[in-house]
Symmetry: C2
Subunit: 364 residues, 2 copies
């Protein structure tokens, strides 16, 4: 890792007239300096001034882990003991911390830390860190796209084994544990496993639980992990035996909607248009009221990041942006279905990073 | 679950002259209404006004999970769609959201949400949510102490099986995976597993890794999980074969220090005194420079919470407070040791919730 991303962050600060970026334990910290910090009640904070040198402040206890990450090769590292105040170290490093300061704080920093910083620099104006970081992270480098392609193939390989796990009488939780093990064979971490069977499929974020699979169940399987720092996220639908009444038709409409939305992806198209294409197709087929969420989200070092593929988002797609296209149809108390692939915008269109068949597969 | 804790929170708000408490996905949310919300880019927020009714705002996608939690039996639930603004719902519910408002925000709410709230209610004063919640959570009820006793016994049972896992040639990571499985037999979730062998033991937050155990290694094993909503956290030290030179003496000093610190726990004693007792004993034996962290932290629905057992903390202990007592001695490049038990303050002294032997055990 080198200082290129830090340099880009400082250039973005200057363009936006922001004096410094403050980054706690987060994907942004990993992205900028490669340090996977634990979120703790003791502050870890990377201070990146628009002018001047970055400083990484860590609790003394975490200093060995911080040095192991190699972050100290990129920025100056300093630590504080159990009775020292890290906020004072931040203020000291921020020469611009006066009445005119504009400071960006990483989106997920715990509010308790932000309130302490605001108390110590009361006259500053505060803006969300994503206003700076989004420019860096929205468009992926060719190296990042390669990492996303590899983790996409990894989750493809897991889905290939899912049909064999879905057998009548097994609980969602049992299936989920098996899937977690398969994810770990292809990834460094399991991010989430949703196995939503029968009527549970009608809840897009169903918590995998004790329901046992029955003959004729439709099952939504939405899974993801992290490999070499980049995330996968992929949904397919399976049926145990014969599909329930009306499900085959619903799934056909969903496939067409997902295909149409993916086909619409190209440089110069607004993100909201991709959502509209999927939504109109589903509405035209009479299922409009059952598509209750946005069509997708960006992905990279985080599972969910910009661009948001949502109605009204006029962000213009550029080559290198990567996101999910995942329309769903949810019929309360009966069943649900969602088809999700990660795609990346290319110079002249789109590349799918998940390649498994999208039709409903018979399991068991 | 009933509304008793919400009533206590509102009473605390009135005592502190704070108009409302805003609680995102967190242990506080579980504590108040039993809802284990996912931390998402879509806001989930419980609004608890000092006067008036609480309101739980969730993304439409999460509404089924929120209802499954039963939280809607305690508070009014409302949801917003992908194109609605949840911050507007917060402002609407806060009748006191004027220039005189004082608002408490849960400590771990993502800063991006807090900045959006601050932007929408610019004249309000903002205080950390812990200023309200600490009063509720610091002193455990008899039911909570029972839960901590049970999860303490659960992690005792895991440590009882650790010696059999520590064999020459196995990696820390292999041992860690076995320990995770044992934790899951006795808990609902694994919170963390630290296996720090040989020189790695000198880093208190060592990341369990690829180092293979060698004859004569000292090994620090610090592990914890969650069972029925309450956390365990316990550290013991093991040696593979004969202890390395000087280690037996160091460990004897540490045992005495931990015993002395636990014996000092009683109602009316300041938290900082417990730290001083452990620290002085270790310093008197000549190891002072090697005890680099505070002596302990509170525990309950979170692994780390108040009271902090740290130098200078003049918080007076009361019956029902629960925390770790975990002095450590870390000799760089050689080895480390830490002994950690959870204790609870009783009416006339202290009860240990971990009962395994504290001496160094020979493994392998």
């Amino acid at each position: 890792m080198d200082t290129a991303r830090l340099d880009q962050a400082r250039a973005a600060l200057r363009r936006h007239g922001v004096d410094a970026l403050l980054v706690g334990p987060s994907a942004d910290l990993r992205y900028l300096v490669g340090y996977h910090a634990l979120p703790l009640e003791r502050l870890t904070l990377l201070v990146v001034p628009a002018e001047g040198d970055p400083l990484l402040i860590v609790p003394a206890l975490e200093e060995p882990r911080a040095r192991d990450s190699g972050a100290d090769q990129l920025v100056t590292l300093t630590s504080f003991t159990e009775t020292e105040d890290p906020v004072a170290l931040v203020v000291e490093h921020l020469e611009a911390a006066d009445a005119t300061a504009r400071l960006a704080v990483q989106d997920r920093l715990w509010t308790a830390f932000t309130l302490a910083l605001q108390g110590a620099i009361p006259a500053a104006a505060w803006v969300p860190g994503s206003s700076i970081m989004r420019e860096l992270r929205l468009v992926k480098s060719s190296q990042e796209i390669r990492a996303l392609r590899e983790v996409g193939a990894a989750i493809d390989a897991v889905h290939a084994q899912v049909p064999g796990l879905l057998r009548v009488g097994r609980t969602e939780a049992e299936v989920g544990r098996d899937i977690s093990e398969l994810i770990l064979r292809e990834h460094d971490e399991v991010n989430f496993v949703i196995v939503a069977s029968g009527p549970n499929g009608a809840s897009p974020h169903h918590e995998t639980g004790g329901r046992r699979l029955e003959q004729g169940d439709a099952v939504v399987v939405d899974i993801g992990g992290t490999r070499a720092g980049y995330c996968s996220d992929m949904t397919r639908n399976y049926v145990v035996g014969e599909p329930p009444g009306g499900y085959a038709e619903l799934h056909r409409v969903l496939e067409e909607a997902q295909d149409a939305a993916v086909a619409a992806v190209a440089p110069g198209v607004a993100a909201g248009v991709i959502d509209r294409v999927a939504r109109e197709h589903i509405a035209d087929a009479g299922y409009g009221e059952y598509f209750v969420h946005r069509t997708g989200h960006g992905i990279g070092v985080e599972e969910h990041e910009e661009p948001w593929i949502v109605e009204g988002n006029d962000l213009v797609l550029e080559p290198g942006m990567a996101f999910s296209v995942e329309p769903g149809i949810y019929v309360p108390d009966r069943y649900g279905a969602r088809i999700e692939d990660i795609v990346v915008v290319t110079d002249d269109g789109v590349e799918r990073l998940n390649l498994r068949p999208r039709e409903v597969l018979v399991a068991g």
